[in-house]
Amino acid sequence: MTVGTIASDKARQVAQEVCQQHGATRDELIPILSDINRQLGYLPAEALDEISTQLKIPKSQVLSAASFYSMLSTQPRGRHVIKFCESAPCHVQGGREVWLALQDQLQLKSGETSPDDRWTLETTSCLGQCADGPVILVDEDIYLNVTPDQLSGILAKYK
């Protein structure tokens, strides 16, 4: 995860490494994009540019894939990404209250990043943990049976 925008040479370097690691072929495009997104927090334009060169496919096609999937971002995000499960089972198990409390504590709405780049708040589709909702995902850590009063404790773990 990262703060703000990425220097263009770093973005290129990471893109190059990831392409080499996966093998620069068309069928590796989604894994490559996911990997860069995980390392840099988002997909900078320079990284997409580099992928296009490495894989020898038009930039338009790289951007077309990068902008389609909800887990990939072409905009810079915060150091930590909080994903709230917005599907029905979580919703009826008290998810609505958690969602309101979360927006209130972070002072963010869905899709926004905090001015200090600490947080990005997003919703996600069903995480399949429906027996233990409401569910939130902070970076790669999953929290089950979340209640509004647990939120400050969870958020405090991430600097």
Partner: protein, 596 residues
């Protein structure tokens, strides 16, 4: 199938064995025999439960989820007497912390269930240890087909079993394999669709996390049948644990010579890889899924050509979902006749469901086709929560439909559900009680569908949005005469002019609720009334004057100061200020607040 009221799982990992787990096992059987409980309680071996160094020998009792640790044979008679005869937990044998570990996703099978796909999902095997799976007849089916059966015989067996695709459409699996086998070309692919995206449905995740080899084995058998050399499991990125387990399973299968070159010494070779999605519901649709594996936007394309003829990279490809593959090895082992003997004339075998909503027992179940909705809701689900009345059952995920309580005796199979205006789908089953507003439900699902429409087909992209607008308007009390007809017309257009299952199924939640609950739509539109008292714009909170004691609790808790009144006198809510948050009704100690 024999039904046991309890299951005892004795850990027999190497450390526990060394510490005498087999003595525990034998003593248990002796003692249960002596007490006459042997037909009621099943004793099974399992891999490690707790840390064997500090807790072994240990065992787990289901359905209670009680974990007894550090056992000696001398403990057993007392434990059997107390726990299984008198129904008392023996505290001194419990593990220190987390005394009771209840599995909230899957309970032990109820009498009306048959577990084929979920047979190993209740902690019976260690998913990270291939030997556990092999001990449960794992890969015996693969050995059988490689040594005794031709690919055509395998396809024949699957055809005869009557197995149909469990991903939603229910196409006969054997026929699909036949198409892929007969398609010209040497290079063929096999895909497992593990992109289980329906909210609330997590059957496939559970199978992948608890019994991944059953899917791997099913895939290898299918690959042999159609002649595929390369396979992919396409798993959604929202399931990181499932991906991890699956990768371990594939690695272990490769080490054991069950994947790779010359499987089990035969001429047959097959490689398997896991591919992760990146968050797109529509990638559960087979052509969109293939586009995603190829590294493109996950957008569907027209069929025909079907994947069996022109699929991944333009080559013949067979796609089935997790549950379909998980059935295959059992069919090979037990025979087509055995499988075909379960279920109805049109739908054979069992189906897993994620039972959710206003029902007492939620979680995963597996029932033979032909089980009625009544049996699922009342016998397995334990009835409606808070003893309210059943209103409707929603099947098939967001693109499914609602079946009214009057049809609760409907047997669950592909044909019956389609005739009732719903679909089988992948296996979501949401039970709704009398307090559910059916217009609001249609709005909720349409919100999901329009959000997940990939945007390729105009009728789906724009039509679902228009439908959502109309439904939202109706729920907000701004419905107009003609809205129902407008919805019906849009449903027809979106359903007939969209390429994939998402657009074609989009009308289901709307059409089925209009069909069965038209009066609720009309009440919203013409009387500006929500019969279920759910839609906030159409309800009023009113204080019953003769019940109210004037305690002022409601007025003090109202966030917008809409409640006025003197202490000890009846209070009043100003409907123009009230935001219908319902807090007053929650805090009132006298039930004086009514929703009108």
């Amino acid at each position: 199938m024999a039904f046991f009221r309890s299951h005892i799982l004795v850990s027999v990992d190497p450390v526990c064995l060394e510490k005498g787990a087999h003595d525990i096992f034998d003593t248990l059987l002796d003692e249960l025999g002596k007490k006459g409980l042997i037909d009621e309680i099943q004793v099974l071996e399992t891999s490690r439960i707790g840390d064997p160094e500090t807790l072994g020998p240990d065992l787990m009792v289901y359905p209670e989820g009680v974990h007894y640790v550090n056992l000696t044979p001398a403990d057993i008679p007392y434990m059997v007497e107390e726990h299984f005869l008198k129904g008392r937990t023996v505290d001194k044998l419990l593990a220190g912390e987390s005394k009771v570990a209840v599995d909230e996703e899957v309970a032990p099978p109820k009498p009306k269930e048959i577990r084929i796909v979920l047979r190993n999902s209740l902690g019976k095997i260690d998913p990270l240890n291939i030997e556990d799976y092999i001990a449960e007849d794992g890969y015996a089916a693969l050995a059988k087909i490689l040594s005794e059966m031709t690919p055509d015989e395998v396809i024949d067996t699957v055809l005869k079993s009557g197995l149909r695709g469990r991903g939603g459409a229910g196409f006969p699996t054997g026929k699909k394999w036949q198409f892929a086998r007969n398609a010209p070309g040497d290079e063929k692919y096999l895909i497992c669709n593990a992109d289980e995206g329906d909210p609330g449905a997590f059957m496939n995740r559970r199978v992948l996390e608890s019994d991944p080899h059953s899917v791997v084995e099913g895939m290898i058998i299918a690959a042999y049948a159609i002649g595929a050399g390369q396979g992919y499991v396409y798993c959604r990125a929202e399931y990181p644990d499932a991906v991890r387990t699956l990768k371990v399973a594939i690695e272990q299968a490769r080490e054991f010579g069950l994947l790779g070159q010359n499987i089990l010494g035969s001429d047959f070779s097959f490689e398997l890889e896991v591919r992760m999605g990146a968050g797109a519901f529509v990638c559960g649709e087979e052509t969109a899924l293939m586009a995603s594996i190829e590294g493109q936007r996950g957008q569907p394309r027209p069929r025909p050509p079907f994947p069996a003829v022109k699929g991944l990279w333009g080559k013949p490809t067979n796609i089935n979902n997790v549950e379909t593959y998980a059935n295959v090895a059992q069919i090979i082992l037990n025979g087509a006749d055995w499988y075909a003997s379960i279920g109805t004339a049109d739908s054979k075998g069992t189906k897993t469901f994620a039972l959710a909503g206003d029902v007492k027992n939620t979680g995963l179940i597996e029932v033979p086709f032909g089980t009625t909705l009544r049996e699922i809701v009342y016998d397995i689900g334990g009835g409606i929560k808070n003893d309210k009345a059943l209103k409707a059952i929603q099947t098939g995920g967001p693109m499914g439909g609602c079946i009214p309580a009057s049809q609760v005796d409907l047997p669950v199979d592909y044909k019956a559900l389609t005739e009732a205006g719903s679909i089988m789908g992948s296996g979501g089953l949401v039970v709704m009680d009398e307090d559910t507003c059916m217009v609001d439900i249609a709005r909720f699902f349409m919100d999901f569908i329009q959000d997940e429409s990939c945007g390729k087909c105009v009728p789906c992209r724009i039509g679902t949005r228009r439908m959502l607008e109309i439904l939202t308007r109706i729920c907000d009390g701004k419905g107009e005469d003609g809205d129902i007809e407008r919805l019906e017309a849009l449903c027809y257009e979106v359903g007939t002019a969209s390429l994939c299952g998402l657009g074609q199924g989009a009308p289901n939640p709307v059409l089925s609720t209009i069909k069965h609950f038209r009066d609720e739509y009309e009440a919203h539109i013409y009387e500006k009334r929500c019969p279920a008292k759910t839609c906030r714009a159409l309800i009023n909170f009113v204080i019953l004057e003769d019940v109210c004691t004037g305690c002022t609790v409601c007025a003090r808790n109202c966030p917008v100061n809409a409640i006025s009144g003197e202490r000890r006198l009846a209070h009043h809510i100003d409907p123009d200020i009230c935001i219908r948050c319902g807090i007053c009704a929650q805090v009132c100690n006298y039930n004086a607040i009514e929703i009108q």
